[in-house]
Amino acid sequence: MFKILEKRVFSPIIKEMVVEAPRVAKKCQPGQFVILRLNEEGERIPLTIADFDREKGTITIVFQEVGKTTKQLGTMEAGEYILDFVGPLGTPSHIEKFGTVICVGGGVGVAPVFPIARALREAGNHVIGIMGSRTKELMFWEDKMREACTELFVTTDDGSYVRKGFVTDVLKEVIEERGKDNIAMVLAIGPQPMMRACCNVTREYGVKTIVSLNALMVDGTGMCGCCRVTVGGKTRFVCVDGPEFDGHEVDFAELARRGATFREEEQRAMEHHTCQCGCGGGK
């Protein structure tokens, strides 16, 4: 059992939790993820590690309520326990001194970008952060990102905060302004369409772009192959070979199709979810 030590509500659907998991906290690196399961009937879902504290033995997760499990998790409070919490899984981000790097976080993707941006900066990189969300209410961790990055650009799709525009608009502007040859690498994490769009921007400039994929998973240790994705014409497992890959090589269309495999069932699970926890399921 893994205790929830802190909970912060960023918006009705985006929440942060600090979970006591010393085994995970001791070894995790930026870019890795955990898999959690809430109860005996629960499914196993992967969540990227957003922060960690080795001394306190804690892992921070930030999640958006999109399915039954994340909704249920969202109703849990500090002091309650998560049944299973396993990690760190996946291959850590490749951190070294590249020069100038751009770290793009879209929506809840800002959370996993944060520890990577911090590590890249600690490794001596000039880190340009770009973070964006649909609207002001969904924005979180601007302060943490500002601290982690050398400079930070913020945008909202609807213009309700700082400026109007997609992260791809900002990305394009920054590359144009600094010159493509001065950007060693771009890291983009967020919803699949956003990562795909970032890759389309950087492909034109020939700037290497790393994305962190969110695929369906069961065990997360390479055992089931559910998370397979085509990268550079080869089948790779997101759980062990990734989650980070060269975005220009990823078959995003296939990833999206496979991700939708259980869409009907996910809907049914939400409808079936008529528990009294007030999470809004079953309506």
Partner: protein, 471 residues
């Protein structure tokens, strides 16, 4: 000797659920002997002096001896006798390929049907489980700590043996529940999960610690377990947790599962109880399972239970070469699984949304025997045809999961990524580190993995005792 025994030529049949009913439920198929049947079957044993049956058993269970006790109605004595050699009889009695092992060598089998050794083993184990298992005595604590990586059949066996010898054993299991392939792979209808969990509970009574959600190679490497966590020896039994795919076009279409995924969703995550359980699974009307082993049979039978109208085994050799346990093939046929033999797909075809709608297949004929001694399948030119299916399960085998082999310093690996270990001792190239089961041999059987766990436990004990002598 008393009066001459009447010869009963056939095994007493195993009571089983009706095929039509059971093909739609997940309850256990084979129901087990009752006491009278068990005693009657035990009396078929000739008690021959040469004990050929024992030579066919990878762990050399005292077969005639335990059967004699069953015939004498000393069931408690019988299970004790079995357990001298086999730590998991309730499991083995259900899943061992007895026809290729003990029963293959049974003297009765030369003229008649062999004694139903497996069914008797299961009877004894279930008899004991129903009454509560007596915890065996353990040796006084040695002060040594051993880490067992993986809680499948080989890890469970190794841990039990080491605990009995007085060592402090911790099992690290990557999943949220102990049992490995017995939990995620073998279906409920063949091996009820409560049987596995009863065995796991027995292990805990021996003082074995089980840490679930612990992926060795990730939260700590084998080296770190020894250097930082104070383990004196490590046993690696991480199994064959890497699914093989065909490598044909269309394999990443929606509706294509590895057998591992298909079975893990169903068994471990209980997708057959969706939506009461959260994990979904989707089977269409017509399922094709590629492969002919036990895993393939499990998947094909599971597909029917999940509601498929048709479930097909697609296998490139003939029925004779099917590597599955004979009983599994029989059960599959009874339940209505269909067989497309001497057939292999060359491509999986998807619809516009990326969902499987069919397979391009080619017919095979058998040629000369290959390295495995089986006749090599040769494709027949011009025999290509299309098979309409909407779900494909790839069950063509598994390789060793690379997580532990790749993260352990100084561990010699084979060409297929398997750990190289001495079959006589389980010793690897790294001092204090032992390995066994599928991670060494590639996908094999539960009983072989258990045998390897036992062998390694003996070597680890010896290694630790020598270490003590030196200090």
């Amino acid at each position: 000797m008393a009066e001459k025994k009447e010869i009963i030529p056939k095994k007493h049949p195993m009571p089983a659920q009706d095929p039509v009913a059971r093909a739609r439920n997940f309850n256990e198929v084979a129901l087990g002997y009752d006491e009278e049947t068990a005693v009657a079957e035990a009396r078929r044993c000739l008690q021959c002096k040469k004990e050929p049956c024992r030579q066919g058993c990878p762990v050399e269970v005292y077969i005639p001896q335990f059967i004699k006790l069953v015939a004498e109605r000393d069931f408690a004595g019988a299970i004790k006798k079995i357990k001298e050699k086999n730590a998991l009889p309730a499991v083995c009695g259900r899943v061992c390929p007895q026809e290729n092992q003990c029963e293959k060598y049974c003297t009765m089998g030369k003229k008649y049907e062999p004694v139903a050794i497996g069914r008797l083993e299961r009877f004894c184990a279930d008899w004991e489980l129903a009454r509560g298992v007596e915890t065996p005595e353990t040796a006084p604590p040695t002060g040594f700590r051993v880490a067992v990586v993986g809680s499948g059949p080989s890890g469970l066996t190794c841990a039990a043996d080491l605990a009995k010898k007085g060592h402090d054993v911790t099992i690290f299991e990557a999943l949220h529940v102990a049992g490995g392939v017995l939990m995620y792979g073998i279906p409920e209808f063949r091996l009820p999960k409560k049987v596995v969990q009863a065995e796991v509970e027995n292990l805990k009574k021996l003082g074995v610690h089980i840490e679930t959600n612990a992926v060795v190679g990730k939260f700590a490497t084998v080296d770190e377990l020894m250097e930082e966590e104070g383990f004196d020896a490590v046993y690696i039994g991480t199994g064959a947790g890497l699914p093989h795919f065909m490598g044909i076009p269309g394999e990443n279409s929606c509706g294509v599962y590895s057998a591992n995924e298909f079975l893990t969703r169903t068994n471990l995550m209980k997708a057959y109880r969706f939506p009461e359980c959260d994990t979904p699974i989707k089977v269409g009307k017509k399922v094709a399972v590629l492969g002919g082993g036990n895993v393939a049979m499990d998947a094909a039978r599971t597909a029917l239970r999940l509601g498929a109208e048709e479930s097909w085994i697609v296998y490139r050799r003939s029925e004779k070469e099917l590597p599955a346990r004979h009983e599994e093939v029989e059960h599959a046929i009874e339940e209505g699984v269909k067989f497309a033999l001497l057939t292999s797909p060359t491509e999986i075809i998807a619809d516009d949304n990326g969902w499987v709608k069919g397979m391009k297949c080619i017919k095979y004929e058998l040629g000369e025997p290959d390295a495995s001694g089986r006749r090599r399948p040769v494709p027949i030119e011009g025999s290509e045809y299309e098979m309409e299916v909407d779900t494909v399960v790839v069950a063509i085998g598994q390789g060793p999961n690379p997580l532990v082999p790749r993260t352990t310093r100084g561990l010699e690996l084979g060409k297929k990524g398997n750990i190289v270990a001495d079959p006589e001792t389980g010793a690897t190239s790294k001092s204090g580190v032992y390995a066994g089961g599928d991670v060494v041999t590639g996908a094999a059987t539960v009983i072989l993995a258990m045998g390897a766990g036992r062998v390694a436990a003996n070597s680890i004990h010896e290694y630790l005792m020598n270490k003590k002598g030196r200090n």
